[in-house]
């Protein structure tokens, strides 16, 4: 990590963004839903959903990719383009975000989509759309986010500072990373990923408080959306929203009701349950199922006309009772997570003060009845289940950008799924347990299994099962260069830190050599850095000027930082500079200065990387010397300090954890 060496001059400086510049105080909250999305913002101390010219707050999460390369998002895409171009119009992309081609979601038979054949080892689902293009779920999500961003900019009349984007509480690390990537690609500064039920509780609690009513105590948030189910148990007290436990199923929602109903319709029509791969038919039947489900919220019976593949139309009727019989087995899958969440919180349903309903699917009478059965009480329904998540996200965005309206509010959220490492024999050693309050960290010491083992393969997994194969693989990385020693002699401290977004960072350090390695976990099922980078660059082609300008400004700041650091390092250790080093580094510095004076942030980025490459050997020598000096008899503490300074200074809590480790030796 040569670039990090240059930060020796400013060890305490983290690489996070500079505080909000004047004039850019608008922060928004986005509910990026499976079926529908919304954007909200705090105005005059209260969160409001931003609406379009027709007064409509909801943007259907549907993106159409036209043959000419244009993209169309929202109502038109859903109502007009999806029926005509089912393959090229992606709905429910959220169900594929952060998932791989072998995940169940991408293996469904009844689907309007065409998946691009998975290249060997490609971990990402790709949709084949018009014009020979393939798009990833992250890119589809980015299109929706971009549409919401444009709406917000048009209405707020000023450039946005950043956004809080909500995610299902039960999203794993890979799904969170992918959502963050989508935000970046849309040109949004993602201030925070916020769990949907937590956002809902925040909006609900503050709304009650604003009405002068008491909203303290223990609440369950039952959040059943289009594609995901979350259950969270929270304690609300004096502005502190503390999540006690969370659970759910990130592949369970109203969509699954539609599928169950669609399957029934196909049966009625005498057609095979996979619609024989007829995408247009799949789309029509799924849409008919959704329409029937919605009609049956109000009515006891409904009938719906579906065009067969040969064009003949057939009208099928469905009663609410029959629909509920189809849906009930799907809904029953909520039972386990509800029970587990209550158990993890150490509570019984009777101890709760209320149950808050969130998500469009909770409009169904059957779902309300189910919640009543589960919790033994009537759920609270005086909030709009469609808007409450976006409103909560807007409040959190306001809090994070120093808005004063909500003074003392703080959210204490949790890790939804345990995080651990693969041990010999394919078993999981958990470092962070589910429902731990974030941010949190843990350090565990491991040792070598075989004599003369010179490296460690670290495999990071997430899940509750004991065997690695049953858990979600998040990342793999290696720590090599360990000198040959008898088995059990090397000591590897592995530190997990989960930040306030719920995203994991792992670092490892071998005690006897001081070797370090650290990764922001790049999900095994995610996009590569290069892909995100390319998508970012692609998106600039369409992006507005302010995005360009901000990018340019950021790259200039970054360039200046690197230039200063490089000069300082050269001045500090001139004896380590070989002649050709100096020539190479000087040339790279010159190039970066030229780029920095220009208007192309991409060129600056390239020049920064150029300087990085040019100074690699020099940086390596500085690193080696630091280590050698240590081995020549400086105290271990001094070496540690040196190495520590050389690691990415943003590696926040690793030092804290290491210090704390001594006190944990009972583990």
């Amino acid at each position: 990590m040569p670039e990090a060496l240059f930060q020796i001059s400013e060890p305490g400086e983290s690489r996070v963004k500079a505080p909000c510049p004047p004039g850019m105080t608008r922060a928004i909250g986005i509910d990026l839903g499976t079926t529908n999305s919304l954007v909200a913002s705090v105005k005059d101390g209260r969160p409001v959903a931003l609406v379009d010219d027709d007064g409509e707050a909801i943007v259907p999460s549907v993106v159409h990719y036209a043959a000419d390369g244009a993209t169309i998002v929202g109502r038109i895409a859903r109502d007009q383009l999806a029926p005509r171009f089912p393959r090229d119009t992606i709905a429910s992309a959220k169900r594929f975000v952060g998932r791989g081609p072998s995940d169940a979601e991408a293996q469904r038979k009844l689907t309007p989509y065409q998946f691009a054949p998975a290249a060997p080892g490609d971990p990402v689902v790709r949709f084949q759309v018009a014009g020979g293009r393939t798009v990833t779920p992250v890119e589809v999500s980015a299109e929706i986010l971009r549409a919401l961003k444009e709406r917000a900019e048009a209405q707020l009349g000023e450039p946005l500072f950043g956004a809080v984007i909500t995610v299902p509480a039960y999203f794993d690390d890979g799904q969170r990373q992918a959502t963050r990537d989508a935000g970046r690609i849309a040109g949004l500064e993602v201030l925070r990923l916020l769990n949907e039920p937590t956002a809902a509780a925040l909006a609900y609690g503050l709304d009650k408080a604003a009405q002068g009513k008491d909203a303290q105590g223990l609440f369950a948030v039952f959040d059943l959306g289009g594609g995901t189910f979350d259950i969270s148990i929270l304690a609300l007290e004096k502005g502190v929203f503390e999540v006690k436990a969370t659970g759910g199923d990130s592949a369970l929602g109203g969509d699954d009701f539609d599928r169950a109903i669609a399957g029934h319709f196909l049966q009625e029509l005498g057609l095979p349950e996979d619609a024989s791969g007829d995408r247009a038919l799949a789309r029509r039947v799924l849409d008919a199922a959704r329409a029937a489900k919605e009609a049956l919220t109000e009515n006891a019976a409904t009938s719906i006309t579906i065009a067969r593949p040969d064009g003949r139309e057939t009208t099928v009727s469905l009663t609410r009772t029959a629909m509920e019989a189809l849906v009930r087995p799907v809904l029953a899958r909520c039972t386990g997570p509800v029970r587990r969440a209550l158990r993890d919180a150490g509570l019984s349903a009777a101890e709760l003060d209320g149950v808050i309903l969130v998500g469009g699917a909770t409009r169904m009478p059957l779902v309300r009845q189910f919640v009543h059965e589960q919790f033994g009480r009537e759920p609270l329904s005086d909030i709009d289940p469609d808007q409450v998540v976006a409103l909560g996200a807007a409040v959190q965005a306001d809090v994070l950008t120093g808005g004063t309206g909500h003074g003392d509010v703080v959210l204490l959220d949790v890790v939804p799924l345990s995080l651990g490492l693969e041990m010999m024999g394919g078993v999981v050693e958990r470092l962070i347990h589910r429902n731990s309050t974030i941010p949190c960290g843990a350090t565990q010491t491991f040792t070598t299994y075989a004599d003369n083992q010179t490296g460690f393969d670290l495999h990071v997994v997430q899940g509750e099962r004991e065997l690695v194969d049953d858990c979600r693989s998040l990342a793999r990385f290696k720590l090599g260069g360990v000198p040959p020693m008898p088995a059990g002699m090397a000591r590897l401290d592995v530190t997990f830190v989960v930040d306030a977004d719920g995203i994991l960072r792992v670092s490892a350090r071998e005690e006897t050599t001081g070797l370090e390695s650290s990764v922001s976990v790049k999900p095994t099922y995610g996009l590569t850095d290069e892909e995100v980078e390319r998508m970012l660059l692609d998106s600039y082609a369409h992006a507005e000027d302010d995005v360009q300008l901000r990018q340019l400004a950021e790259q200039r700041v970054e360039a200046e930082r690197i230039l200063q650091a490089a000069r300082a390092a050269m001045a500090a250790s001139p004896e380590l500079l070989a002649d050709d080093d100096r020539t190479r580094i000087d040339a790279a510095i010159e190039k970066l200065q030229v780029a920095k004076a220009g208007q192309d942030h991409g060129a600056i980025r390239v020049a920064i990387e150029g300087l990085d490459v040019a100074s690699k050997d020099f940086a390596g020598r500085r690193m080696n010397r630091a280590l050698e000096e240590g081995l020549r008899g400086r105290t271990v503490g001094a070496v540690e300090a040196e190495v520590e300074k050389s690691e990415a200074a943003g590696d926040l809590a690793s030092r804290l954890e290491r210090a704390g480790h001594a006190g944990h030796s009972h583990r």
Partner: protein, 230 residues
């Protein structure tokens, strides 16, 4: 200590008395100190939870999202430290094991416990054979009851084990209360360590009962759905 931001004296508070900047955490502070509690087993959980929330409100990274990078880093470190401290202290078993660890003890079920002995060697405290015998017997009974689908018997065993765990926990509390800080502390802690070894086994037993309960509840749900359909 002088403040990193304004260079004036800060005192011991988390925020600088002069400029209000968040100060770096004390990295070696034990969990009790982090929560401002006396270092003893007996903890007023309600007061401690109130303190946890109050501190969270003060130092949570969300409150420093637009602050100086150093303040942000300290906020993150302090919050990680606080969350860890509260996780350990709110749970009596973890709290007891942690307190023992502060005295140099280690408690682990399979290996028994150990404490620092003379000359840096570790002195082992093996798992009492009587306890092992009891545990084996109870686990066999649990396995039999589960195999026979006898939920009532499982629940009876669970009640039995729960009461053993409660009694052991009471002894742990009493042991800590009498150990004091005297020269006999090491001797006084020995029975506490013994009880904690037992508690680990009882807890694992009850975890297994919880797995059984979950399976049992799921089975009942299926059964009631089946009868509703019929």
């Amino acid at each position: 200590m002088s403040c990193w931001s304004c260079q004036r004296e800060t005192g011991a508070a988390e925020k600088c008395a002069s400029c209000g900047a968040l100060q770096p955490p004390e990295l070696t502070a034990d969990h009790f100190r982090v929560l401002g509690l006396p270092r003893r087993f007996d903890v007023d959980l309600k007061a401690a939870e109130a303190r946890f929330r109050e501190l969270s409100r003060e130092i949570h990274p969300d409150r420093f999202a637009t602050a100086d990078p150093r303040a942000r880093k300290f906020s993150m470190q302090r919050t990680v430290q606080l969350n860890e401290a509260w996780k350990i202290l709110k749970d009596p078993i973890r709290r007891a094991e942690y307190l023992l660890s502060l005295d140099g003890w280690e408690v682990g079920a399979e290996s028994g416990a150990s404490r620092p002995g003379a000359g840096g060697a570790r002195e082992r405290l093996p798992v009492p054979p009587v306890l092992l015998g009891e545990v084996l017997e109870l686990r066999e009974e649990l396995a039999d009851a589960r195999a026979a689908g006898d939920d009532a018997r499982v629940q009876k065993l669970a009640r039995d084990v729960r009461s053993r765990a409660d009694q052991a926990m009471a002894k742990v509390a009493a042991g800590f209360a009498t150990a004091g800080s005297s020269a006999e502390r090491a001797a006084a802690l020995e029975p506490v360590a013994h009880e904690l070894i037992g508690i680990r086994y009882w807890k694992r037993f009850l975890d297994e009962v919880a797995v059984h309960d979950e399976a049992e509840e799921a089975r009942r749900d299926d059964a009631s759905k089946g009868s509703a359909r019929a």
